[in-house]
């Protein structure tokens, strides 16, 4: 315990020392715009937390997730994922209502009813085969739909990439989850932790290929994760119907792309 509190104290000191990103002078317009786009005012602190999370992941979570992949057959893993998703359905339902999406909410309700009973506690996703596709919503997305901005990028210890809006959303989702309410009422909170643990391992296992790839290929993993997290959230908020064309390298104002490098000044603006 003593070690633990010492460790936390040391950690906090490091974080404070790491401090904030240096703001470019207002005269440098390009750099100022870039600084605002990056929207990560406490980047040095975030980077320290990121490295801490990575170390933790490497020592504890990754080995467990890899063992899970080796020991549990993929068919069983799929059933587990399905059951976990089904447990989340009430929260998804609530958020869909809050977002003014009654059709999606109704579909989620049908899925929950059907899969909980015929699907044996959600172990099977039979509703999907009947045309009720799985949807996913959380309160961070609901806040975004309500017009709340994301705020600056935030790397949370253990929980990973986030921002103030999504962090609040996460807490709300946990509080309103009927499963958690039930375990509190019947004094079986161990079930809440067991579910959270399974969820973490299951999610980590599914992300293994992606993170292995990223780890191998990226030059600045922190920056890559920051960008990917944001893009993923935007995509989730718009339910996959994003067509943000600002992200495409220009085409029309290009002299030639026939493997020669033209000398003309070209717009590097997206």
């Amino acid at each position: 315990m003593q070690f633990c509190s010492n460790f936390i104290a040391a950690f906090v000191v490091v974080l404070v020392l790491a401090g904030c990103a240096t703001k470019p002078p207002a005269s440098d317009k390009g750099a100022t715009q870039e600084y605002q786009e990056i929207n990560d005012p406490i980047e040095p602190t975030n980077r320290v937390i990121f490295e801490f999370n990575r170390a933790l992941d490497e020592v504890i979570l990754q080995p467990v997730a890899r063992a899970y992949r080796v020991v549990i057959p993929s068919w069983v893993r799929a059933r587990i994922t399905s059951a976990l998703d089904n447990l989340r359905a009430p929260v998804v339902f609530f958020n869909e209502l809050a977002q003014g999406e009654p059709k999606r909410a109704a579909s989620t309700l049908v899925r929950f009813g059907f899969n909980t009973t015929f699907g044996l506690a959600g172990l099977n996703d039979f509703a999907r085969e009947l045309g009720f596709e799985k949807t996913d919503e959380d309160f961070g997305q609901t806040l975004a739909i309500w017009g709340v901005g994301s705020g600056p990028y935030l790397m949370l210890p253990i929980f990973g990439p986030s921002n103030p809006r999504d962090a609040v959303g996460r807490v709300v989702d946990i509080v309103i989850d009927p499963f958690n309410m039930w375990t509190r009422n019947v004094d079986r909170e161990a079930l809440t932790y067991a579910r959270a643990g399974t969820e973490i391992v299951s999610t980590r296992e599914r992300l293994l290929d992606l993170t292995d790839d990223l780890e191998k290929s990226s030059l600045d993993l922190y920056a890559a994760v920051r960008s990917l997290y944001r893009q993923r959230r935007v995509n989730e908020i718009h339910n996959g119907h994003v067509d943000d064309l600002s992200t495409i390298p220009g085409v029309t104002n290009y002299p030639s792309w026939d493997n020669s490098i033209p000398n003309e000044e070209i717009s590097t603006k997206p």
Partner: protein
């Protein structure tokens, strides 16, 4: 009868007025779709054969990548506002290293994706010279049975079609690279610093 004739005329009118535009955009869309399908076929035939030595697969991917992707366009776009600040020599070296990095990174990833089989869902025009080809990868054996969305941004210049970006589940390859490069230039203080990192990374990737 009168009513039928009227609606028939209206239909004709609608067809007439909408045709030139649709025919134009439609042609681009069709060609863009065919282009991605050809790209997929070529990738499957040259990359998925794991019995071939890796170096051979790397070489054929480099050819494919140069041929089907607007490498220079993507490269300089990912360097963002630093492109104009760089010297000629830096720009040239950057583009070479960028290609090396892409080839070394994507040779395996690309083979994986292509081997799964793409489902072409729709193609949407962006403008007269660009279309987005929507595809999906369906992996029934995976824990999450929902299909993975892969968008291909295809542009053309004359009769030359090239991929400008690949967007997997909403995450753009070009944008992610741009953000990463921007962060490195910021932290290292110069494009030279980024080139140094790129040299290290490509050397490391080619060793394995």
């Amino acid at each position: 009868m009168k009513r039928i004739r009227f609606s028939f005329c209206a239909l004709l009118a609608v067809l007439f007025f909408s045709m030139p535009l649709d025919a134009h955009a439609g042609e681009m869309d069709d060609k863009a779709t065919t282009f991605v399908q050809d790209l997929e076929k070529e990738a499957v035939s040259s990359l998925t054969d794991t019995s071939k030595p890796r170096q051979e697969r790397v070489d054929s991917f480099r050819t494919l990548f140069r041929d089907k992707f607007a490498v220079d366009v993507i490269g300089r776009w990912t360097l963002g506002r630093s492109w104009r600040k760089s010297s000629k020599e830096e720009q040239t070296e950057f583009l070479e290293l960028f290609e090396d990095l892409m080839v070394a990174t994507y040779v395996d990833r690309f083979a994986n994706y292509a081997g799964e089989g793409l489902k072409y869902t729709k193609t949407v025009p962006v403008d007269e010279n660009m279309s987005t080809v929507h595809t999906e990868i369906v992996r029934p054996d995976q824990a999450d049975a929902r299909p993975i969305s892969v968008l291909w941004r295809v542009g053309r210049q004359g009769e030359l079609y090239k991929v400008l970006d690949v967007v997997v589940q909403g995450a753009s390859m070009s944008l992610t690279l741009q953000k990463e490069f921007t962060a490195i230039v910021r932290n290292k203080g110069s494009v030279a610093g980024l080139l140094e990192e790129l040299r290290k990374k490509t050397a490391e990737l080619n060793q394995t």
